[in-house]
Amino acid sequence: MTTGHVLLGLLVERPKHGYELKKEHDHRLAGAKPLAYGQVYATLQRLERDGLAEVVETQQEGGPERTLYAITDNGQAELERWLNTVEPSAPYVSSPLFARVAVAGNAADGYLVRQREAHLARMRELTAEKASGAPAQVLAADYALQHLDADLRWIETALARMKEHNNA
């Protein structure tokens, strides 16, 4: 439930409205998919149900926009627990890129060369964004760049293995 924990993290500073939480989420997690409003309110309601957040103020006339949420003591404890939990290393490889190669085998080399170009084009965009980005964007771009680079290095190895096989 990562989104819930991120919202709890944003509530530590002070109570906030859903609208504000969405904006801060999208800014701090630059490079991640922006949160839909529906998801913000659904998540806040779940946090409230679980006693991790509470409503501290509701404007009479307004819609849900006007509801001010705060983190509870249980919420603080849950946030602390999450921040210190080591993420398990993924036990399975799951990537559409890998799946294509698994299906096509040594005939995947043409596809891989084109995938390589697409990844490198994205890396150029991210590198350019980094030059003028705020610290949160630079961190997000670094993260994306290093993951794309890992894919590219795997593609390189896969191409070398396919070539070895096709020459044998």
């Binding site: 060369v113 170009e117 490198l120 890396m123 150029r124 290095r153």
Partner: protein, 221 residues
């Protein structure tokens, strides 16, 4: 502006380059990528007039350069090209400013003028504080930025950089690349960048991918 047509080069039995053609426009930033042994350095050295290809031609501004007599080629390299190597290759006994001034002295500029221009380039690359220190005392990242300043000081058409960040960590490499790319774009100098690191290649406008001495098929030139 700079063009290679059908370049070939062998070292004994080793075929280092096979039929490599490419064009680099004024002010363009091009990465030559590929695994170790792919022929990247050989290609760069052929383009820079350091190694003579066995077949094909290298043409700068419409003039064939790979067949020039050695003295003319040396002069052309000094005036039109700047080179940055993996380990800076600075003179350790000289200060950073003296190292940067050196190419201008070779081109027969006065010492005072050379030192003034050197100071400007060191400032541009944010290593002014290193100006009076011997380059043997500098960090790897500082040395590389001094080497970039030295390559730019004569106002070359092209900078050739062979793994300029190869000996640096991520952030040190990033500083060198930002300095190199920023300075080159500002002065409309073309950059030919050899690297095996995709993250460094991503600073360039486009890529020439080499595999076993040839341009990788399927990749645009």
């Amino acid at each position: 502006m700079l063009e290679a047509r059908g370049l070939g080069k062998s070292f004994g039995q080793t075929r280092a380059l096979t039929d490599v053609s490419l064009t680099i426009a004024e002010g363009e930033l091009v990465a030559i990528t590929g695994p170790s042994g792919a022929g990247k350095s050989t290609l760069l050295n052929c383009l820079a007039g350091v190694v003579r290809p066995e077949s094909g031609e290298v043409v700068l501004d419409g003039r064939r350069i790979d067949t020039l007599p050695e003295a003319d080629l040396t002069k052309l390299r000094r005036e039109s090209f700047g080179i940055v190597f993996q380990f800076g290759e600075l003179v350790p006994e000289l200060t950073a400013a003296e190292n940067v001034a050196l190419p201008m002295l070779f081109n027969r500029h006065g010492r005072q003028e050379a030192m003034t221009v050197a100071a400007q380039w060191l400032a541009r690359l944010e290593v002014s504080d290193c100006a009076d220190r011997r380059t043997g005392e500098l960090s790897g990242g500082q040395r590389q930025r001094v080497a970039v300043a030295r390559a730019l000081v004569t106002g070359p058409r092209v900078i050739f950089a062979d793994e300029p960040t190869g000996a640096l960590d991520t952030i040190g490499g990033e500083q060198v690349m930002n300095a190199l790319i920023g300075a080159a774009r500002g002065s409309r100098t073309a950059v030919v960048l050899v690297t095996h690191d995709n993250r460094v290649a991503a600073y360039a406008d486009r890529e020439i991918a080499l595999r076993d001495g040839a341009v990788l098929a399927g990749v645009r030139r």
